[in-house]
């Protein structure tokens, strides 16, 4: 029993140490090839934050928040990265309706699949970037993703866990936006 307790303590210490050093991600090996193409699903400002994450991760990419499907082939990108989250302000600024944006996103995803691109989804807006509008884009885009990263605050209701679990999509949750860059970088070969 004493040995068991000692083993338990050792494992606990090891677990704590590992957690402090390097987060263990659910995605165990890289799936995506460079370069990437970044677009928005919902026209929120989150796409700007994902740009910063890609820059920091030194992943070459082109970005167009309002890209149409043909832009993917022309870009030569191997991976589609989607910053998912609806913003009525962003949609208004882009001059498009939520319905039109949904159609655009679906077309972009379909084209990515046709081109054999991997799709990585990110939801970095947290709880504030949830709700009826954002959830439309999550539900439309997430099932097509090969990997998903969510800022944990946005997954309080377990929506991302449920959707990813049902579809066997690797999901990693991070505490903060700034911590989303690490799993994103590790997703690329």
């Amino acid at each position: 029993m004493k040995r068991s307790l000692l083993s338990l303590l050792a494992i606990l210490a090891l677990a704590a140490g590992l957690a402090a050093q390097s987060p263990a991600y659910n995605l165990k090996s890289p799936i995506a090839s460079k370069p990437a193409f970044l677009s928005s699903a919902g026209q929120s400002a989150d796409v700007e934050m994902v740009k910063v994450l890609l820059d920091r991760s030194k992943i070459p990419f082109k970005a167009d928040a309002q890209a149409k499907a043909p832009a993917l082939a022309a870009s030569g990108a191997k991976t589609l990265v989607l910053a998912i989250g609806g913003s009525s302000k962003g949609l208004g600024a882009a001059g498009i309706s939520a319905e039109a944006e949904l159609e655009r996103v679906k077309a972009v995803i379909a084209e990515a699949k046709r081109l054999g691109m991997k799709v990585i989804g990110l939801h970095v807006g947290g709880e504030a970037r949830r709700g009826e509008l954002s959830d439309k884009f999550i539900l439309a885009a997430l099932p097509a993703c090969d990997y998903f990263i969510v800022v944990a605050d946005g997954n309080k209701d377990g929506l991302f866990t449920k959707l990813c679990s049902e579809r066997k999509i690797a999901l990693d949750a991070v505490e903060k936006i700034s911590k989303a860059g690490d799993p994103l970088a590790k997703a690329f070969k």
């Binding site: 606990l12 677990a15 400002a45």
Partner: protein
Amino acid sequence: MAELDRSPARGETGIAPSPDGKEVIVKKVLASALAIVALALSPLAAQVPVNLHGRSADGANGVVAAAKPEASQVGVDILKKGGNAVDAAIATAFALGVLEPNASGVGGGGFMIIKLANMKEAVVVDFRECAPAASTPDMYKFDEKGKVIDNATFEGGLSVGVPGEVKGLLYAFDKFGSKKLSRAQVLQPAIDYAEKGYKVTVNLEQIIKDNFEKLKKFENGGAIYFDGGLPYELGATIKNPDYAKTLKAVAAKGADAIYKGEIAKAIVDEVRKRGGILSLEDLANYQVKERKPVVGTYRGYTIMSVPPASSGGTHLVELLNIMENFDLAKTGEGTPATGHLWAEAMKLVFADRSKYMADTDFVQVPLKGLASKAYAKELAALIAADKSMPSATAGDPSKYESGSTTHLSVMDKAGNMVAITKSINYFFGSGVVVPGWGIIMNDHMDDFVPKPGSANSVEPGKRPLSSMSPTLVLDPKGRSFMTLGSPGATRIFPTVAQVISNIVDHGMSVQEAILAPRYFQMASGKLNVEGRVPINTYNALGPLGHELALKLDWDAYFGGVHAVLYDYDAKMLRGGADPRRDGQAAAY
């Protein structure tokens, strides 16, 4: 599909089972322990509910209630040093410009109401921004859809009004302060926070994220509020040494530091670089206005608030006058009948607001009529107990006003009362940030009607219409009773009225009155109901004809009330603060 993790936390320890089962038990224990450890270490375990505890504070000597706990403490420390309520309010106000930079600061303006115990009447200090001299009623251009091109009323240089904050705060400090403390002493805490930094709260983190595009577009803001290109997040420390330099200049030279010379030139240069029309003359010529308060009564309590260019005080009195015609103590707290009465009364008041209100220096406003009991009685007679009126006006403006404002309240044991509401308008104002000085410029030009022909159209030197309502209350014996106010744009005076009613009609403590769920209704459109309104009330309001918009349980949309009340029975000052934002009172 991607490779999925099969981590120990999911139940596999790698220990082989033994025939006697002991290892199996150990395996289960270890697995459980590891699962607990994983949960504890995981950020996913972090939950950030609205914290209702510790918002209020009671003290025998003085209480400060503000939108940040650190700012409230700044005010209390000034009281401890021998300052009066005005000194404390000014120090708190400058500190809020650092600690709540999205809401107010040197680049903004506001209103203050002061009643020292030895003053017969309260006085209003109006330091609201005014339109630059080069402004015109048709200065904003519209696209074919009728939208202002480039959001110029609320983003960029053309949205910037002449700021009044520093002149206003120092005017009050010089005239009504105790004279026991120097200007440098009341500014030093704000300077310290700007230099040493302050922690990002859940609230501030979200505000920075929500305004990411604006801060990025006007890169000087991003340089302060981003960490390597991403928003500062919870627990991070933000410093603004440039703003500290600005405040040091104010401490050394007074208001001239901002309105003349090097900083004035930097402000003008940056505003004009971003498309604005602000000039050095505009800054040099800015004038603080001392005004008489709007005064009314509510069930024997005297209500004193601000006159135009804020509509808030007048309509606060009008709203309370209407509600006085109904026995709210009898209709009850949180009932459908009471909610219905508030909604109907607000419709009537907002109809008047859209028709009459503007800067009285430029436009005749029937202030006495709007605040009269007889007029309120006429309006109250229009309210049917069993039916909602569809609209109280044919042409209700749907203009949006930002809720990014702040309010602070101070009362000391002598009964000196101060209430300040100040703002840079939208979160992070116009987005224009003065390089080298860390000042965020307001976008209060957005509070004008951006076309000619309205009482509230742009005119040079005119102050745009506001809803700010810093308010003081005397009890039926004429004693200092309460100081309160709120941010929240058009929701401000309805929120202040509901808090007053909660205390006077429903006998709530100041903190209970602040916590209670709120209603908001414009002259037409949906009745906005805070999420915690009793379900039976919610269900009963629809059949009365109200179209309901259910807001969050604790929704910053309804403002953030900070109030101090004198409990004469207990000989205790009681401060209340709002969890809908980062409010917390401090006392001693």
